[in-house]
Symmetry: C2
Subunit: 144 residues, 2 copies
């Protein structure tokens, strides 16, 4: 490709960034989320990732989260009264358990069957969310 052509294409692309770069920080953040296998808060991610990347900043965590959501690698998990957590995308339909002792969120499989019948007449039901509360195994004193 000639320089002329390349410059023309760049002009047409409206200054779109050339390409996403695979950075050390982003790889570490992605690994943290994969290995946790449960929803993590930005602060959780920062803590865990700093074990491998000591100087990591919180802004980078937020940027990575946004990028990964855009790329379809991550989804937000909203829990009542809490800031959002994030978990890897692509899991099948499931719900969550929050430990009242450590506040951590865990995935639970299964879904209450008769949930369709709960919507009163006149309400169009499109989705639902179940959150269980209690104490997780580590916090009950059980071994992991």
């Amino acid at each position: 490709m000639t320089d002329e052509k390349r410059h023309a294409e760049e002009a047409a692309s409206q200054h779109r960034p050339r390409a996403k770069r695979r950075t050390r920080q982003r790889s570490i953040i992605q690994r943290v989320l994969l290995e946790a296998n449960r929803p993590l808060s930005p602060h959780d991610i920062l803590q865990a990732a700093q074990a491998t990347a000591p100087g990591l900043g919180i802004a980078t965590v937020y940027r990575a989260i946004h990028t990964m959501i855009t790329e379809g690698l991550l989804v937000a998990v909203e829990i009542p009264g809490e800031a959002p957590r994030y978990e890897t995308a692509g899991k099948e339909h499931h719900h969550h358990f929050q430990c009242r002792t450590c506040d951590d969120i865990f995935d639970i499989q299964g879904c209450p069957p008769a949930i369709q019948q709960l919507a009163p007449k006149g309400f169009r039901l499109e989705g639902h969310q179940v959150v269980l509360y209690g104490v997780c195994p580590p916090c009950t004193g059980m071994p992991a």
Copy 2:
């Protein structure tokens, strides 16, 4: 009671406020919540109450909410990703529906039966919350 005795008791009470006063504003706020019969946000309450009390301030709404929660008249309703709503206390166990069009929250009666079985082994289940999402009757174009 003599002045001496009264003063002694007051001193012993550690400057505890003498008594709650029944104010116009607080009565109006209470009535708004009773008549809504569904969870309202502080801003919702302000809007509705200002119809009767034009100069009402948001700080007063927050103060009234705290007072009423302390008195056991109100409970907080937490919805994922949303600021808390408040509804009158004393209702029996129930869950909530959020309209994706107007964002309003509605009470729904009933509770999925098999919810106990969802907690995996090792997790101590103490409570749960179900939120349904969809479109409420007014927003589907149905008459109230």
